[in-house]
Amino acid sequence: MSSRLPTVTGEWIDRSRSVDFTFDGNAYRGFAGDTPTSALWAAGVHVLGRSFKYHRPRGVLSLANHDVNTMMQAGARLNLRADVESLEQGMALTSVNTAGGASGDRLRILNALGGILPVGFYYKAFHRPKALFPFWERVFRRITGLGTLDFGAPHIRTPKRYDFCDVLVVGAGPAGLHAALAAGRAGAKVVLVDENARIGGSLGYQRGGSIEGVEMLRDLERDLADLPNISVRPGTLAAGYYADHWIPLVDAKRMTKLRARAVIVAGGAFEQPAVFRNNDAPGVMLASAAQRLLYRYAVKPMDKTLVLTANADGYRAALDLMAHGVAIAAVADLRADGEPSALSMRVKQVGIPVLKGHCVLEAEAVGDRLVAATVCPMGADGKPDTASPQKFACDGLVMSVGWAPAAALLYQSGTRMRYDTTTHQFVPDHLPEGMFACGRVNGVYALDSRCEDGERAGTEAARHLGFDTPARNFSIAPERSSPSHPWPIVEHPAGKNFVDFDEDLHLRDFHNAAQEGFDNIELMKRYTTVGMGPSQGKHSNMNAIRVLARIRGVSPAEVGTTTARPFFHPVPMSHLAGRGFNVHRETPLHSRHDGLGAVWMQAGIWLRPEYYALPGKRKSDIVRDEARAVRSSVGIIDVGTLGKMELYGPDAGAFLERVYTAKFAGMKPGTTRYAVMLDESGVVIDDGVVARLSEQHFYFTTTTTGSTTVYRELQRWNSQWNLEVGIVNATGAFAAMNLAGPKARAVLRKLTSVDLSNEAFPYLALREAEVAGVPARLMRVGFVGELGYEIHVPADRAAHVWDALMEAGQGDGIRPFGVEAQRLLRLEKGHIIIGQDTDGLTQPDEAGLEWAVKVDKPFFVGKRSVQIVRKNGPRQQLVGFELDAIGASTTPRECHLVVRNGAIAGRVTSIAWSDTLGKHVGLAFVAPDMTELNSPFFIRADGGTMVQARVVPTPFYDAEGLRQKVMD
């Protein structure tokens, strides 16, 4: 039988468009503008879901997404809030957490077992024996839980939007509307959001039998339309507050990150349930929910109802229900004195009996449907007087006993709240700069006062931002009576008087938790899980605080609140998912490497060729061959990932002397020098080559991974020392390649006119010349221990130069080599890699770099620390080693430990098989007394195998360095 009413003024449904849908397999029809809940309730379906733990039947509680009685699934869409989701044609809805649908759920047996399932039951009963835990976990995952995950659901990524405004107003009820208009009239750019499908808030449904509110809303909407600087966004949720007024606005399609200059919170209040036995029976609902059914969806919530109240709102609800044909059995008012306003007269005039000082002891349901409610007097101590209960037959029971502020955004912004004893709620006490609150969230309830309070907040926000609007005196009258009752809670020996509907927590659970010692609100929350369900305490936290306050004999103020965290409502993952931004850098020669079959590896932020794949060849063979080409003929490697810095100015040399350990002031133009950089604690952090181009102009390299941080730190020093020098990070502006091998000179000679002879361009010299017609900086360095030239050219000409070199080297069998061969070649020369052969504690002396540290300079970064550390001597020493047993079955690897007498004495930092040398060579940190040449030590390899190694001098290869100085 349909409970749909004839047309109601202001209804949200469009009766010209019907919508067909199914719920748990049964077909229903609603209207466009309906929610699944309103359409089902209109169709006479009152069991809309099952509770989380006891599988109790549940119907409408808040009709506002403040509870999850009506959580449903629609195909791949999980956890749909049927109270607020818009109904769509063809929707196939199913209830969650049931066996066989909401109405016939076979797991309802659990309700009868409730007595043996107290709070904490799981913790205590199932953690031993441990082996059985996975079994129990599977059982509980089946009988609890929310919806079924569809692993085939499409991946949806939603781009974010960004927006800015002067004043954001959260909540478009009477207070928020007035605030937005006041700020808008002052000239501010205003964004007004409301999570509901339409604006107006309580003006639309808390009518008290009058259409005054609806008319006011119509006027306000007209005023809004006159102000183009106000953007009105219904169906939009302000999901959280982040620093400096940064608010994620969530609508059905996406998230908009809005930066406001001021925020007005006018989010209203959540109506709170009364706690009595069976307060969750379908038919028991909040007064505001019944009014929403009436005025938004034109659904008659019940035929006959009892009204339980403790404020004026309950009386208004009684008048609203009566006006639409609902019989009112009685109004039970928790307050001994009843309602002080004229509303009480109006209720009496229409013949509704009022029971002052009465509470509901219990509701009674038969076959999943409310049939009666028992009322009895409530004592001054808040306990029910059960001597003479009165029973009322009814299929509905509406509750209006109190409100809790929707203050999540205020808490998140750092607002200090206080418990106000005239309204029995938490209200803002101290608001951070640029934050404003008005309306119910500010403890203001009378409609005129809410409008006035909104006007005040809007004016203050505009003035705060410097808009020219006159200051006004606002006088907000104090509430005549408290909108909230301090103790809307009734004990019952048989329990099932629910405090938290999401988590199926009844009053006794709180007493048990306190008895177990969890009598602090944060502890109680975690033990009972109150407020941890999908509605995050919106309907349960305030009552939980009241219960705990009474248990401990203190005020709610002393109990305090739990932390409010974003998001305010759950936000779909697809709204949050964005593109992955794992950036990497490519050198200008990237396409050349690709064409040569490069296998890529990550080097810091860069991609570098590890080696160049050849069909039918193994990596180890390729790397060996690449290295052999360099040693025997000529190879080329892209070293463009090195940091490349330009330094210019009269103090350039002095600057380098301060940031590097060596001396540079006396360098001649046209020379290069190895450079080591320390941090202030004397730890080696970077190395590179410094080249002097002219008296005032230096060019130097950093490690691939260090370029950004080194550049940053150099800028910092430069901002303090007031030297006349400028630094430019030219890493991306230059490409660099290293041409190395005995034939390097012969190959390069074909492309440049500069005299490459050993006399004219000696080892460690720098020349500026054209290579293949491109201006280049040539540095003769011993990068891999062979005759070699590092060629730096403008990035945009790099490919041309590379191609020319490859072509020039064709006759000599030039071969590109990757990072793997480079590391092997450099290891053979005993060159250390900063970050591989050093770590975050390595002092230069420990890494064999003392020759590069000139402590006779007046200052360099880290100098004082080096001096102090030198007094104590090194803690460890980097040494070269080779393995004694050639072809041992177990080869140590990087980071394997050096072990002496069962204790750690060091570790391997680098190790490789050198084909050139015919043995394994490596570098290792060892204790300072283990550095004697030829002394053996042990490395603990995989599986605990002890492998013997021997200290040998470095370089392992060409110790005299003759090859890099080779003549023609």
């Binding site: 620093a243 400096d244 930066r259 604690s681 550049y711 901002s719 004082r864 102090i868």
Partner: protein
């Protein structure tokens, strides 16, 4: 997300900045004791209050000072090193 005011580029989201630690005077390495130097290098004061900090605007490569109340996480002023 916080807004930080770069003295060169104006107010920008904090994701464009890197924190550089508290501004602390370096003792004269030639005259200070080992202990004074070690204190400078290794010890940081975590005492909440108003501090002068190094901040770096990454996009433009600007180092600057920010006076910040670390209790309220409020930046009082920012300026370039002299």
């Amino acid at each position: 997300m916080k807004i930080l005011t770069c003295p060169v580029n104006g107010p920008r989201p904090v994701s464009e900045f890197a924190y550089g630690g508290e501004v602390r005077p370096m003792p004269d390495g030639a005259t200070c004791t080992d202990r004074e130097w070690a204190d400078y290098v290794f010890n940081r004061s975590g005492v909440p209050g108003i501090k002068i900090e190094w901040w770096y605007h990454i996009a433009s490569g600007t180092w600057f000072y920010a006076e910040r109340d670390t209790v309220a996480d409020r930046v009082i002023r920012t300026w370039l090193p002299a």
